[in-house]
């Protein structure tokens, strides 16, 4: 994002942006330690047990909504997006936090199955993790 106020482009966050790229190309992954704990990049150490040999494992195709809310009062970077739905979905070894697309909160329940992809925020044109109904 670049604007007249001279705000610089957001610097690429290696690891995190690699993860978004992977999700965008349908090759989502998470990190797994020898004990089977899942975590998300960037990460050098398993946050659950401290193991340092982390492997890329394919993210399951679908996750289950575990909790969600409709945000009516947003931070400035999401001002034009509000109201929008933010949810936490369980993908087995990891959970992801993202925004809901193509569904209203009224059509959503704990347990609803979703896939994860990339969406755009209206306000800042930034990539956001987006859940869609399966």
């Amino acid at each position: 994002m670049s604007d007249e106020s001279g705000e610089a482009d957001r610097v690429r966050d290696e690891g995190f942006d690699d993860f978004l790229d992977a999700i965008e190309s349908g090759e989502g992954f998470y990190l797994e330690c020898p004990e089977g704990h899942g975590s998300l990049p960037p990460r050098r150490v398993c946050p659950h047990c401290g193991a340092t040999d982390l492997e890329h494992v394919a993210l399951p195709e679908t996750g289950e909504i575990e909790t969600y809310t409709t945000v009516h009062v947003a931070a400035p970077e999401f001002a034009d997006d509000a109201p929008y739905v933010t949810a936490v979905a369980d993908f087995g070894a990891v959970r992801l936090t993202g925004q809901l697309r193509e569904l209203d909160a009224g059509e959503l329940d704990v347990g609803t199955e979703v896939t994860v992809g990339i969406g755009e925020s209206e306000t800042a044109d930034e990539r956001v993790l987006a859940f869609r109904p399966r």
Binding site: T69, H72, Y84, T86, V88, R95
Partner: protein, 387 residues
């Protein structure tokens, strides 16, 4: 190991003071604490000071020495930042230093200036207590995070918006006579249920306000209190701190707060008490659901059973164990960095008998519970009236 006495306490009014600087707020709170303590400033060996968003709200980092100056001290000063638990951590470090013999007299406190940022600016500033990559960039705000926890709680254990509204009503009632509180105004369950939604299931009255304010306490060793013949009947007898994963999505539980469970267990063990010995509590109710999670983490209730405590009258001022007699963050206000110490200030006044709600305190043991972010960090303190 020496005991730790609360020699004196002070607060500013909590509320909207957008034109007052953090340094002015802290100068006022610390002046009250020194007057209350009767301890000369020259005896203070260190300042432990909590602040969260000073860089964003006042373009001011390095606030330790600045606030020592504002308080009239030449002692070394350190700022503690642990989101909304910043000055709870400051208190804990002071207690440890006094017990270790590192200091006999410590000023602890905190301040936060928030209203000058406006609602959008404050929402953005508070959000930095969450994981930037995985939460903030998904549009999560601080109220949204607690809404996610509330929905998870309702889904797992049951409960309703009405149960939460009862907590807001209780805490507003408790603030009516508290001159330092932001809201000295009663509300009804209907008011709370009819209020605009912020992040469902949480409405405007489920949330604490945006608050400016400061808190301060003079803590001293037993020996210092004795030598100087101080009237300091309240001691800090237990301290505990717990941590958890930063992001909600990485926690084992979405409807429990293990960081606070660990802090409580440590503080109880430290004081040699159990949850059933606690007479009164000040807990971190930044949102109504947070009070429920706190009651369960403090082991006053089993998981899933704290939700109806206010509605059943168990935590109200005439209940067996009143919670947030100050009005809590909900009605007293939540100047983030000042909050942890303000709970110690309110509890001290409640226990020693000079708080407007002291008559509702049923016993000599109080607990304060201060949580940072979505409870990725927590401190718990036990305060007791010495016989």
């Amino acid at each position: 190991m020496t005991g730790v006495r609360v020699a004196g306490v002070g607060l500013t009014h909590f509320g909207k003071h957008p034109e007052r600087t953090g340094r002015d707020l802290f100068a006022e709170a610390s002046q009250r604490a020194f007057e209350d303590a009767g301890v000369p400033r020259a005896d203070v060996e260190q300042l432990n000071y909590g602040n969260f968003m000073g860089e964003l709200s006042e373009h001011q980092g390095h606030q330790g020495p600045l606030m020592a100056e504002a308080a009239g001290l030449t002692a070394p000063a350190t700022r503690y930042e642990s989101a909304c638990a910043s000055s709870g951590v400051a208190v804990r470090e002071a207690v440890k230093d006094i017990r270790n013999g590192e200091a006999d007299v410590t000023l602890v406190g905190g301040a936060e200036r928030m209203n000058n940022l406006g609602t959008a600016g404050t929402t953005e500033a508070l959000a930095i207590a969450a994981d930037d990559l995985y939460e903030v960039r998904a549009g999560m705000t601080f109220p949204a995070a607690y809404a996610l926890m509330a929905r998870a709680y309702f889904d797992k254990y049951g409960g309703s918006g009405e149960d939460l509204a009862e907590i807001a009503v209780k805490n507003h009632d408790n603030a009516l006579d508290n001159e330092f509180a932001q809201f000295q105004r009663a509300i009804t369950v209907e008011d709370a249920l009819d209020a605009p939604t912020i992040a469902d299931p949480l409405g405007l009255y489920d949330a604490c306000p945006i608050t400016d304010g400061a808190s301060a306490a003079v803590l001293v060793s037993d020996e210092y209190a004795e030598e100087h013949d101080l009237d300091a009947p309240v001691s800090v007898t237990g301290t505990g701190q717990g941590g958890d994963k930063m992001a909600l999505q990485d926690r084992q539980f979405l409807a429990r707060t293990p960081a606070a469970e660990r802090a409580a267990e440590e503080a109880y063990d430290d004081a040699g008490i159990g949850p059933r010995d606690v007479s009164v509590a000040e807990v971190h109710d930044c949102f109504t659901i947070a009070e429920v999670l706190a009651l369960e983490a403090l082991d006053f209730y089993a998981p899933g059973e704290g939700i109806g405590a206010a509605a059943r009258g168990e935590t109200t001022r005439d209940g067996d164990r009143p919670v947030n007699l100050s009005g809590g963050l909900k009605a007293k206000g939540h100047p983030v960095g000042a909050t942890g110490t303000s709970q110690v200030v309110e509890m001290t006044r409640l226990l020693r008998g000079d708080h407007p709600n002291s008559d509702a305190v049923p016993g000599p043991v109080g607990v304060t519970h201060n949580a940072g972010g979505t409870v990725a960090s927590t401190t718990v303190h036990v305060l007791e009236v010495e016989e």
